[in-house]
Point group: D2
Chain length 139, copies 4
């Protein structure tokens, strides 16, 4: 079973829209933050460190998606459960279940890829195969 | 061919992350704004007006997604081309192509549904079939 | 000595700008959230409850300000210490000290006023004197 | 009379809070963007260019403030009039008047300072006197 990490957030007044519910781009803001906490909890070093050791400078996004099941509002606490749902060659899919207690509010995904600077042109980036140590930490 | 509307935005410094490129949730912020401008341009009345005429109080989201093809940074102008990609029973899919001049940066979608207050419980909402006038304006 | 409450936040990647430090409007986002947590911790009921009991529907802002002493970046935890710095007739000033451990990063203030609906026109709002119970809770 | 530049924005649904009016940190987001457009319109080169020519790498903030005179909501267009209100030794104050047509909604200010990398430690920054060419462009 794959590594799983839960990150908690509180929904604030300013995260909500004139209808009084979360303005949906904020769910992606929380997914992005949850991904960073997931990597940290799994023991992935900072991108500064991996840049020095493996040349890997980050994990940019190829795709994101979300399904909205229930609304939520300010004053509520949410938890984001993050795990790797799939390895797809160079890319991998993070699944994020955003819930309020046991009620799942949003099912989200982020497809990311590890990148290094292109050897022929440092202004460009290039996807790399996830190293074994990376897959082991997240597996 | 379906109705299409283009909304322009300028990418600002504060829309970008420490890598210097757009922080991705902002693309969804622009898609949501583009959807509102699309409805206005198509001649859909405000939800306040439709609430009075048809009982329709808004068009909440069921799903959203985005594919990131090219990065962008501040000082660049982007255009979002919006149209209805699909009618799916009660729901409909808005396609958003976000481009810088002719270069498509992001392909996004928003699946929305029209809602009214539930006749038995005004605290709940209920999906309704898109009325003919709505489909005609967006078709 | 006046009531004081501390609210904690973690700075996320998406809160930072291309320089790699917090994009400053986010400090105001945290101050607004800290104000809500301060009211809750002091025992101020929700505005829905005060609307029913005192007619008070919220505490909108007259002025805000911030002095930036030190930068901060993602992965850092911050604490916001909030208290009433001054009562000024109908308005009152919240002081927010935003710090990383013992290092103050930002000194902020929010001048707010309690409002009710105007008795002659419910579409307008009207400032009211802070009731005794409100001053006592925050004093 | 000093150089003045006006930047336009449209208030979007997602910029507004559960009360239905602009969530106030967004006014600072617009001021920051207006400052960048003001510098561009005045003919100040990009910080990348000034880094090469004068060593100046940016104009970080010392202080910001805002007075909220009238609320605004989505669908409304706003204009931000920006000018230098004061030169204070190394720092300078930008005044931003945010208005809807002729109605001023917010009076804001940003106190900024030009910085270069510290000659003894490039990880630190150091305030510099605004060069004559900079003062002339903004005067």
């Amino acid at each position: 079973m794959s590594f799983r990490h839960t990150t908690g957030f509180e929904i604030e007044f300013g995260d909500c829209d004139p209808v009084g519910i979360v303005f949906y781009p904020n769910y992606y803001r929380w997914m992005d933050a949850a991904a960073r906490h997931f990597f940290l909890a799994a023991g992935v070093p900072s991108w500064t460190e991996t840049a020095a050791s493996d040349g890997i400078i980050g994990a940019p996004l190829l795709e994101t998606s979300a399904r909205y099941l229930k609304p939520a509002t300010y004053g509520e606490r949410i938890a984001v459960d993050t795990s790797v749902a799939e390895w797809r060659g160079k890319s991998f899919v993070l699944a994020h279940a955003i819930r309020r207690a046991d009620t799942v509010l949003v099912e989200g995904s982020e497809t990311r890829v590890l990148v290094r600077r292109h050897p022929d042109d440092p202004a460009r980036i290039q996807a790399v195969d996830p190293p074994a140590w990376f897959r082991e930490k997240l597996a």
